[in-house]
């Protein structure tokens, strides 16, 4: 009985807040009279419905809270997810490889696949810095931009192709990673985040304003597409093209499919390197750094080198992804490298569960796939997307896969629950 009164009181309080909020928004309506003057009318019925719905919703929520079934321990859930995860990862890989081979698939879906894969790769790259080393980097797009502009400028000025420029772009981005790493070595947490954020903006502003080199806001266009052992993908056909060599009709899908497999291979490379590094001293040192920096130092681990390698390797994969982005778009401008890109990639890492490769891949599919597939829903698209994100974070606050898999074990490997694992303080 006491519960009921409490619930009623609580719901009434929430309904009152709703009344205050909805009052001006729903209760009042501004309109035009015939004479052109503004009129103010009230809509008490709508307001009553909104407040009433809030009251009922709150009541139901409290009831659910009191009577919901006992939750099993978190680790069991995690164990179940892990077991299914063992199947999910190979299944996803098979789907990813097979996607362009589905007969009659629209070019749109392959293109969407390319986009998602780009973000999977960026997510995996940033996962090294944020997920493993625990360094909060809000300026990851800077390395993406460095990679893209490296390729664009090299192809423009030295007539180099995609495959020659790919390693160069990665290397240059890694250099910028070290360059950024030095000043922020001593910073932690929020301070690190702000400096990396500023770094991302600096790169973008330099690109925008250095018109003689980068073309400024006009960007760089006519960036060459990748070739397959010298064969180009041209719609016009003719000698030296893919369609001519294999005696097939040229379609736009051939190029999209080729791009798809390139980014898939690059993403898988990122994943493979990360997984191998995790089982090595360097990867363990990154994770130890995330757990406790001072203890690391007392064990003789060189913090400077460890942090710099995390920045450099994360940046290198960002650079690869940027190089791919430039070749795919054939046109780049500073507009593609705004803060929202860094935020999206970071959101993918956080949503997926920092440190988890599979989680990041799933999160990239959700973050990029849902808005693209919901395009028919017009204005409701972002609303649904937002609700989905909030729901996921409420249900799984540490991301899809928040557990940690030990890198070495004497007996059977036991999965470590999220509550043990530190998030890192930069």
């Amino acid at each position: 009985m006491r519960d009921l009164t409490h619930n009623l009181k609580d719901s009434a309080a929430v309904a009152f807040v709703a009344f205050l909020l909805f009052g001006p928004f729903i209760g009042l309506q501004l309109g035009d009279s015939d004479s052109g003057n503004l009129t103010l009318s009230t809509r008490p019925e709508l307001l009553a419905i909104a407040v009433g719905l809030t009251f009922i919703a709150r009541m139901l929520m409290l009831l659910w809270h009191d009577h919901r079934p006992r939750k099993p321990p978190k680790l069991q859930v995690a164990e179940a997810i892990r077991k299914s995860g063992k199947l999910i990862a190979p299944a996803l890989l098979v789907c990813a490889i097979g996607l362009p081979l589905i007969p009659g698939i629209a070019n749109f879906y392959i293109d969407l696949g390319v986009l998602i894969m780009t973000y999977v790769m960026l997510g995996w790259g940033l996962n090294i810095v944020v997920g493993l080393a625990g360094l909060l980097d809000l300026g990851y797009v800077a390395f993406y931009a460095v990679g893209a502009y490296s390729f664009a400028l090299l192809s423009q000025d030295f007539n180099l192709g995609f495959w020659e420029c790919l390693p160069i772009s990665g290397l240059l981005a890694a250099c910028w990673g070290v360059f950024l790493g030095f000043p922020v070595l001593r910073l932690r947490g929020d301070y690190l985040a702000i400096v990396t954020l500023a770094f991302g903006e600096i790169i973008r502003l330099v690109i925008t304003n250095w018109v003689s080199l980068t073309g400024g806001p006009n960007g760089i266009y006519d960036i060459p597409h990748p070739t397959l052992f010298g064969l180009t993908f041209s719609m016009a056909g003719g000698p030296g093209t893919f369609s001519d060599f294999f005696h097939v009709d040229p379609t736009p899908q051939q190029r999209t499919t080729y791009l798809y497999y390139i980014i898939l291979a690059l993403a898988l490379l990122t994943n493979w390197v990360t997984l191998r590094l995790r089982r090595q001293p360097l990867g363990r040192a990154w994770e130890a750094l995330r757990e406790d920096e001072i203890a690391c130092r007392s064990l003789g681990i060189n913090l400077r080198n460890t942090k710099l390698t995390a920045f450099a390797i994360g940046a290198m994969f960002g650079g690869f992804a940027g190089c791919f982005f430039a070749t795919r778009q054939a046109f780049i401008s500073p507009d593609s490298f705004t803060f929202i890109e860094s935020a999206t990639v970071l959101a993918i890492v956080v949503l997926g569960g920092a440190g988890s490769q599979l989680g990041v891949a799933l999160a990239a599919m959700v973050m990029i796939g849902i808005p693209a597939l919901l395009q028919d829903l017009q204005i409701y698209r972002m609303l649904i997307f937002g609700i989905a994100l909030v729901t996921i974070m409420v249900v799984r606050p540490r991301g899809f896969i928040s557990t940690r898999r030990p890198t070495v074990s004497l007996g059977k490997t036991k999965i470590i629950g999220a509550e043990m694992v530190s998030e890192g303080r930069g």
Binding site: V273, R276, L277, Q280, P281, L282, R284, A285, E287, A288, E291, D292, I294, A295, C296, R297, S298, L299, G300, I301, N302, L303, T309, R404, P406, T407, V408, S409, L410, G411, K412, T413, K414, I416, G417, M420, V421, S422
Partner: protein, 288 residues
């Protein structure tokens, strides 16, 4: 003939106007368990942090002798090299483990430098070639040795944060030992342990000494200090007030005065020291 392992010369550490350690000099001998005791705020942990490179001393020198006559100045080394080149390992007063990593992983991280050297800048090990596999095997064997010594072998695959307090203390010691030190510095290793765990700790420390590693420890638990130390240094207000064997320290009037706050009527800290001292002097007398 005992030889000097660690020598502090006029070590001084100032924080602004506060002198936490004032011209402290002492020697710790190879193969000894040296204890540093003193009332709270005496500068024990500060001196420790200077030795292990967490603070840069304002003046003075800290020398470690890996071979007699060949000193290495610890205060000139960068922080991470103290463990690597200086071969001085430490534990922390408030335990600092890698909680989300397993017990075994904690010990693997401690062997980072040796393992990293075997990876060929990471590239060879990524490709699965080179001598990394063998190096990792050796590292696991060493970790196993210390897990057995600290009685943690059954928990090797559990996350460090899930261990009970006493086991976490032992793990921190095991982790420090995995860096292969010549001097192990322990900051209040017995804090929070029950009497049985405390006895087990004594045995562990004696075992470590037998293995050839010298120890330097800060401790409040006189049961531990008096039983296992070979040499005790007493600090008060950042200065050394006594230096000797447990027997000498026990009967030293200045030490008793420092703990009881006697003979120093003007000292405003005396009443605090007094209340503290009672809990410390009692076991000190019991041990006699």
């Amino acid at each position: 003939m005992a030889e000097v392992l660690l020598r502090l010369d006029e070590l001084t550490m100032r924080f602004g106007g506060l002198t936490a350690v004032n011209a402290l000099s002492f020697e710790a001998l190879r193969g000894d368990i040296t204890a540093v005791i003193g009332p709270n705020g005496a500068g024990k942990t500060t001196a420790f942090n200077c030795i292990t490179g967490f603070y840069k001393p304002s003046s003075g020198g800290i020398t470690i002798y890996h071979k007699p006559g060949e000193g290495m100045l610890l205060n000139k080394l960068p922080g991470h090299s103290i463990a690597r080149k200086g071969r001085v390992a430490r534990t922390f007063q408030n335990i600092r483990l890698f909680g989300g990593m397993t017990v075994l992983e904690n010990l693997m991280v401690a062997q980072h430098n040796e393992l990293q050297a075997a990876t060929g800048f990471g590239v060879l090990a990524i490709l699965g070639i080179g001598r990394y596999r063998a190096a990792e095997k050796a590292a696991i064997e060493r970790a196993k040795h210390w897990l057995e010594a600290t009685n943690l072998i059954d928990r090797a695959d559990d996350p460090a944060a899930s261990l009970p307090y006493g086991a976490q203390r032992r793990l921190e010691i095991a982790r420090a030992m995995c860096t292969d030190p010549v001097l192990l510095c322990l900051d209040e290793p017995a804090a929070g342990l029950n009497p049985r765990e405390s006895i087990a700790l004594n045995e562990l420390l004696l075992k470590i000494r037998e293995g050839g590693c010298s120890l330097l420890l800060i401790e409040h638990d006189m049961g531990v200090v008096m039983k296992i130390s070979d040499h005790i240094i007493v600090l008060d207000h950042g200065k050394k007030i006594a230096d000797g064997t447990p027997e000498q320290i026990r009967n030293d009037p200045t030490v008793i005065a420092a703990y009881l706050g006697e003979g120093d009527e003007d000292d405003p800290d005396a009443p605090i020291a007094e209340s503290l001292a009672e809990s410390i002097v009692e076991p000190l007398e019991d041990a006699t």
